[in-house]
């Protein structure tokens, strides 16, 4: 019987011939933890009697969730991670390097066929490069630190097929919001979601990262895109060459199929307080906002910044509204600087933060007050996510975010002319 990409990856990593539903112990190719999850992992590692990492070159510790630190508690967490990383010789990303997932993508470890675990639910992002990547907890991360191995259930694979060319001002974010709204919050639970179709073929790797990033919002174990020439090009541009390539077999077994025609898609918005509460932007236009956030592991890449800057050029953020921009990494920040995007953001009145998670997790750089409304390009709008439990979050694309900042209310980006 043929295999899906996920079955192939787990077969390689477990050195067994496995299929969906099998429970395996597999070797991981890389492991990542950040300042929101590493402390518990380091505690568990020590409690388990851990002295040294199984392979420090494959361990990544990132300061991104509260970076620079906003309080003494976080400062102590940073200090502990810094000391541990230096002592062990692990890969360490200092404050201001960027969001962990973007850094993992830029590290070259996220490659076709690899198995990567991260102590963060959005680790599923790297599936955009043909990796099987998934979020795990801190205690099991400690076990990975010790052994380089973990048990997994080989996931079934759901195919999500997008056909058509994306209309003007409709972005990969709108595609994935529409998908989450259709499949619902647990519609892909425990499964790998394989994105296919002509829309994906045309889509950049950056766009695919946005799609795979939000696979977990449907309960998925990972999102995945079959590696192609775009994957190779992307890796080459970062100075790496893919070590392997792989495809799903024609006769592989799938758990389900969802089809979406993207040629008629409108910009989408996930309304409070659930990611699967998705509506077309035209039905929520006019809702006033207090804050707009452009950034995160979902939408903090150069294409996202470029799209938003194109709308903001020669325009101002509406009085009474603040727009916060956090590039996903230092590399992205440099590119934005070279392309003149940072100047556009500053001229239009945006706050440009250092690379990192920004206000996405409600810890710093734009915490919402009770009653406030935020339009955000991030991936979660749960109650209390970005501050007060009485605040509201609307998830949008970078284009909708920029248009919303200009008008001070949720705005269809197709309304704003671009020179």
């Amino acid at each position: 019987m043929g295999k899906t990409i996920s079955e192939k990856i787990f077969s390689r990593a477990s050195e067994r011939d496995v299929y969906a539903g099998d429970i395996v112990v597999a070797k991981v190719d890389a492991a990542m933890a950040h300042d929101g999850t590493a402390l518990l992992a380091l505690d568990a590692f020590e409690e388990m009697g851990g002295k040294s990492l199984w392979n420090p070159k494959r361990v990544f510790l990132v300061l991104d969730h509260v970076a620079p630190s906003a309080n003494e508690v976080s400062s102590k967490v940073h200090e502990r991670m810094r000391e541990f990383a230096f002592q062990q010789g692990a890969n360490f990303y200092e404050v201001g390097s960027g969001v962990c997932h973007q850094l993992m993508v830029e590290s070259g470890f996220a490659q076709p066929g690899t198995l990567i675990v991260g102590a963060d639910s959005h680790t599923c992002t790297y599936g955009a490069l043909g990796a099987s990547a998934t979020g795990i907890g801190s205690t099991e991360m400690a076990a990975v630190f010790l052994s380089g191995k973990l048990w997994f259930k080989v996931p079934e694979t759901m195919r999500v097929i997008f056909d058509g060319s994306l209309p003007y001002m409709v972005t990969p974010k709108d595609v994935i919001l529409k998908t989450v709204g259709t499949v619902k919050a647990d519609g892909a639970a425990y499964q790998a979601v394989e994105f296919r179709g002509s829309t994906i073929k045309e889509m950049s790797v950056q766009g695919r990262l946005t799609l795979c990033n939000m696979a977990v919002e449907m309960g998925a174990k990972t999102g995945i895109v079959e590696p192609d020439e775009k994957t190779v090009e992307h890796l080459t541009s970062l100075g790496f060459s893919p070590q392997m390539t792989l495809q799903s077999d024609e006769d592989a077994e799938y758990s389900g199929k969802v089809k979406l025609d993207t040629s008629e898609l409108e910009p989408q918005v996930a309304c409070p307080h659930y990611v699967d509460n998705v509506k077309p932007v035209t039905s929520v236009e006019g809702i006033e906002v207090d804050q707009v956030f452009l950034g995160s592991c979902t939408n903090g890449r150069i294409e996202d910044l470029r799209l938003a800057a194109n709308i903001l050029r020669d325009r101002k953020v509406k009085k009474g509204v603040r727009m916060i921009v956090a590039p996903a990494s230092r590399r992205v920040y440099f590119q934005a600087l070279r392309d003149g995007l940072i100047e556009v953001f500053l001229s239009s009145g945006c706050v440009v933060c250092n690379p990192g998670c920004g206000p996405c997790v409600g810890a710093h750089q734009g915490v919402l007050a009770p009653g406030e409304v935020c339009a955000s390009t991030s991936n979660r709008n749960f109650k209390g996510r970005m501050g007060s439990t009485d605040a509201e979050i609307y998830l949008v694309s970078p284009a909708t975010a920029a248009a919303t900042a200009v008008n001070g209310e949720i705005t269809d980006p197709r309304r704003l002319k671009i020179e």
């Binding site: 388990m48 191995k149 639970a189 810890a363």
Partner: protein, 168 residues
Amino acid sequence: MSMLIQGRAWKLGDDVNTDLIISGKYKLSITDLNELSKHAMEGVDPKFAENFVKGDLLVAGKNFGCGSSREQAPLVLKYVGVGAVIARSFARIFYRNSINIGLPVVECKDVEKISERDLLQLDLDRGIIGNLTKNENYRIKPIPQEVWQILSNEGLVAYVKKYGKLPW
């Protein structure tokens, strides 16, 4: 670990996410779990931690614990004294985290039959939930061996301390 867990049911709905269980703003500013657990389930009921009776059980709908990978979510429930979580289904990372820290989590298709504050007796050994208030029994989804060996030893750290090695 005790195979018999008895307590009253605290009913919850579908898709209870990790931000409702413990908000990121607390997770990232409080590392003392006793302190942190005072904010457990604040997004659902601001007085939850204050009112919760140690040993009682949470009974939820589908996709309990969806969202973040934060292990603080099952940890605060454990610190508040949640005896077990019974749900129609769990989000995968939350499920794994609970097992790894030794918080019993079981799937049951009959959660709708359980009412607020029903007295329940969860028998992990027999795989049955006894509803002592309604005099009914419900079957739980069998726990795979790989999971059971960790849970029955009260979590992964406890397992390693006991056997001097990982289960794999």
